[in-house]
């Protein structure tokens, strides 16, 4: 084997290795065969990167991660809302309590995979509202988490936290509207409600936020449990 061919095959193997195992077992040899017959330019590399991300986002069996993330986030949101509600006076703008910051920080982190899971329910035809929604929601939650971490470390607090939370919640609301448009009405209404909770006064807003995410988590858990028992059915029958 020439050095060029060896290097090419190594490069092909590297790119095929970006795809998940189950995908590689089904399509890996075929993709490698095509790549060995194709010029390996920048366009091809970008196409492969994009497709590998797509394959990881769309596994043959849905991942339980978004369900677990939503459940964890809803419990943290409820604990955070309770901590605020238990205060004798309302918290200062933008409405966080120092002692409860770790709760909302972990909640916001857990919401990122939960939101990605909800976006994936829109399928390939996610539409402009769904796409804008997930970009705003994911970016907003990541920046919100960084801002909350900075606040917890007493580095910064205030405008950035509030701005990031507003973007995150606007994205959640848009994603909720997109889900309603795809016929997933209850989930969509709850998600839009969680997003709109951001415009309510902090005490009431956090309670509404926790209630909406608790509803989402329960819906996802029931659906996942139903799907799991349906998948087990034929094995048990057999």
């Amino acid at each position: 084997m020439s050095a060029d061919l060896f290097a090419r095959r190594q490069r092909v193997a590297r790119y095929v290795g970006l795809f998940p195992r189950a995908w590689r077992e089904r399509y890996g040899d075929e993709l490698a065969d095509v790549l060995e017959s194709e010029p390996f330019g920048l366009r091809t590399r970008l196409d492969l990167l994009r497709s590998a991300i797509d394959a990881r986002l769309h596994p043959p069996l849905p991942s339980p991660l978004p369900v677990v993330a939503a459940l964890v986030a809803s419990a943290l949101a409820a604990a955070h809302a309770f901590a605020l509600a238990a205060q004798p006076v309302a918290t200062d703008w933008p409405g966080y309590l120092d002692d409860a910051l770790p709760l909302i920080l972990l909640c916001v982190v857990a919401l990122v995979p939960a939101l990605i899971g909800l976006w994936l329910r829109l399928g390939d035809a996610d539409g402009a509202i769904g796409r804008i929604g997930i970009v705003l929601a994911a970016t907003g939650h990541v920046v919100w988490a960084v801002a909350l971490a900075a606040a917890a470390a007493q580095v910064a607090y205030g405008a950035l936290t509030a701005a990031a939370a507003t973007v995150a919640m606007a994205g959640s609301a848009a994603l909720g509207i997109a889900l309603v448009g795809r016929g997933q009405v209850l989930l969509g209404v709850l998600l839009a409600g969680a997003g709109l909770a951001g415009v309510a006064p902090p005490g009431l807003g956090w309670t509404a936020f926790a209630a909406a995410w608790t509803g989402i988590a329960f819906l996802l858990v029931f659906e996942f449990a139903g799907r799991s028992s349906a998948n087990r059915g034929p094995h048990l029958a057999g």
Binding site: L35, E38, D47, G123
Partner: protein, 113 residues
């Protein structure tokens, strides 16, 4: 099974090209890619090719045949042929309506005033 390809979002266009490429008979991945490029004049990347093949297969529009010398051919299913026909008839309707409108307006170019 989707009656049209709209539910495939950004994969609708590559799906149409792949179904067209398979309408002449079974082909393997590289041959599909080359035929799709010739048919549409647009590049079809290998990653997009297999992401689309996976969706078409999951939706029952194409089916995989046994591997031949490391290459696996695919062929249209009856559902895939029906979806392709529906898509082409939809396009034909748009083309005919557009040409009729152009003819009724005398084929003049649109003006900016």
């Amino acid at each position: 099974m989707p009656a049209d390809l709209a539910g495939l979002g950004r994969f609708a266009e590559p799906s149409l090209a792949i179904l067209l490429a398979l309408s002449e008979g079974p082909r393997h991945g590289y041959a599909i890619m080359v035929a799709a490029r010739q048919l549409t004049g647009e590049p079809l990347g290998p990653g997009t090719l297999y992401a689309t093949l996976a969706r078409l297969e999951a939706n029952g529009l194409i089916e995989a045949l046994p591997v031949q010398d490391r290459r696996r051919p695919y062929r249209l299913t009856a559902g895939g042929a029906a979806a392709l026909r529906a898509q082409l008839e939809g396009i034909e309707g748009i083309v005919q309506a557009g040409l009729a409108r152009l003819s009724s307006s005398g084929g003049s170019s649109p003006t900016t005033s």
